[in-house]
Symmetry: C2
Amino acid sequence: MQKKMIYFDNAATSKPKPAEVLQAMQHYFENIGTSPGRSGYNLAITAGRIIMESRERIAELLGVPDPLEIVLTKNVTESLNIATWGLLEPGDAVITTAMEHNSVIRPLREREARGEISLSVVPCSPWGELDLTAMERAITPQTKAIFVQHASNVTGGIMPLEEIGAIAQRHDCLLVVDGAQSAGALPLNLANSAVDIFAFTGHKSLLGPQGTGGFYVKKDVAKQMKRFLCGGTGSRSEFETHPEFLPDKFEAGTPNTIGFAGLNAALKFLKNEGVTNIRAKEEELTAFFLTGLKSIGGIKIYGPADAKKVLPAVSFTIEGISPAEAAETLEEEFGIMTRVGLQCAPLAHRTIGTFPTGTIRFSFGYFNTQEEVQTGLLALKKITNSNR
Amino acid sequence: MQKKMIYFDNAATSKPKPAEVLQAMQHYFENIGTSPGRSGYNLAITAGRIIMESRERIAELLGVPDPLEIVLTKNVTESLNIATWGLLEPGDAVITTAMEHNSVIRPLREREARGEISLSVVPCSPWGELDLTAMERAITPQTKAIFVQHASNVTGGIMPLEEIGAIAQRHDCLLVVDGAQSAGALPLNLANSAVDIFAFTGHKSLLGPQGTGGFYVKKDVAKQMKRFLCGGTGSRSEFETHPEFLPDKFEAGTPNTIGFAGLNAALKFLKNEGVTNIRAKEEELTAFFLTGLKSIGGIKIYGPADAKKVLPAVSFTIEGISPAEAAETLEEEFGIMTRVGLQCAPLAHRTIGTFPTGTIRFSFGYFNTQEEVQTGLLALKKITNSNR
């Protein structure tokens, strides 16, 4: 008999996606199938509209008036690389936090290793809370930018973006935000914020397919940046140099049109459901889980452990059982899929004291139910009991 | 009444794709949906196998023994950028040809504009034929690499890769090939060739979805290269530096798993049909078209105009009608979709003498029929006649 499977790995990729996502991809596949922005016939223009619709829907979701400030990429990592390689000049200093994912840290470490930039990592508490005073103190006249996650993929902890933005503005630094976990999970209004670049991915809380992502960049900031990927854009094809205007400056080659068609359907779904409602539901699931988890003996929770302060990801360890063993039992005996270990965030695990074995992470999504969370709690109770 | 539409823009993106491509994507969407290589549960491992299967199938198609020498990207442009930014050190010289697409030229021009490399563009004849003697003469002790297309997206003309490879080896240069048009359209056997990097895209003759691509790179060459995109790889997660081993060195972030699932189905289809048979059919269609085209007065064909020497793309102009006007009539009156203008290759159009208005390009695919090509010829005959 096949076990009913429960998916608690939404911080890696959301699953399931709304059915409309597949329908939109199927529609593109069967009825469009062309390359966008490169030819003049109707079906090519239709494909171009899909790409434009992605920009518009994302701009609306992020609270940005100009869809041309939305650059489309394959994932948040590409977006963060464009920021890292495009924004920072030799001699620049960068500040980041001790809770970052490798998608933020690794490009910065690469430039540091090449001797191009200096990097200052601001400490966080063992609960993953940023030391704002330390951040402000770390700023020097060379500091060009602050790179910071909006929320941790390990503990779910939400960073105080407004306070960080105030620091950035006070010292005339640019603010680059890794929104991998937050886009689609938290209501956003970036237009009048201090955020200069906001990188997102399509396949997590935006509920779209893998292979889609992008970033918002302020027009004036984009002007200061160097290009990264260069190539065919379908625009200014008479020039052998890559264009300078947005969004083409940072886009090259045929985009993932079928993926963006799917993402558009997901964005429409998000709009209909309302990100505020989604946040409320996910907060409720997280609160329910945290309350239950705290009542089980032998479990240690990392991060703020307060549903209001986290996205729906909770990291914990079980006394006497390694995260890897726990994951195996959770899947084999209870059909629960989780991600254990370092979750591509070694720095965060050093901060919360779980390096190098990491944690067990339960991450919920909009389609999880309270019943599933309850099953998860019962499973954890059995595992900890059988361990005594 | 709706006109039957005819798609002759396969050099931009192939259309239709085999039905199996959509089926595989649907299967992934409904039954897998996880992130590959990042978690330990069964469905995550299944997603990881999709990515590994892509490497294996592409390695087989390209005639490469080690699938770890296949790096997966979003498109050929990303692949060519990784080569351009990774391979070339300040002070290096590069040789390329006067028939290249902007995906080759623009990254090279960007590095040239930054004063990092010097670029020598070897002339080609007005038929797009490379001057091999000029290429060899252009080599200096600083020449690190030759960047060359395998086949032109404008004229379809196939470059003499073996002769170019011999030149590269004679002068100890690396050979980087833009295989955007050729992968899946020509039988390939790269293992014992002079090719060091072969960049491809998934959505043209490989018949897969947009958002997929990659490159083959020789292990020893990869070692000399710098990283480009850095970030989470799901491997060596304990390190804040991006790994050095293949293929992870050049991959970062969640890949387009649903896209690669589709590409795998396409690659299976290609294997069953046989690239040799596909080439034979496409050559036949091209020969049929060229013969017909030559019999119509007032049409000028560019490139070799010999089906054996081209991939199924033919560029031409009609006396007294601009390419843009011709395209409009072709679509509105005959339901034919073509790509006109510069096709993102201004350099090639300067070479063949069609800059800046460009050409009309008919590009055929495996699913086009002789009947469709015949309809195309009749349409062109009517257009040229009505023009007299």
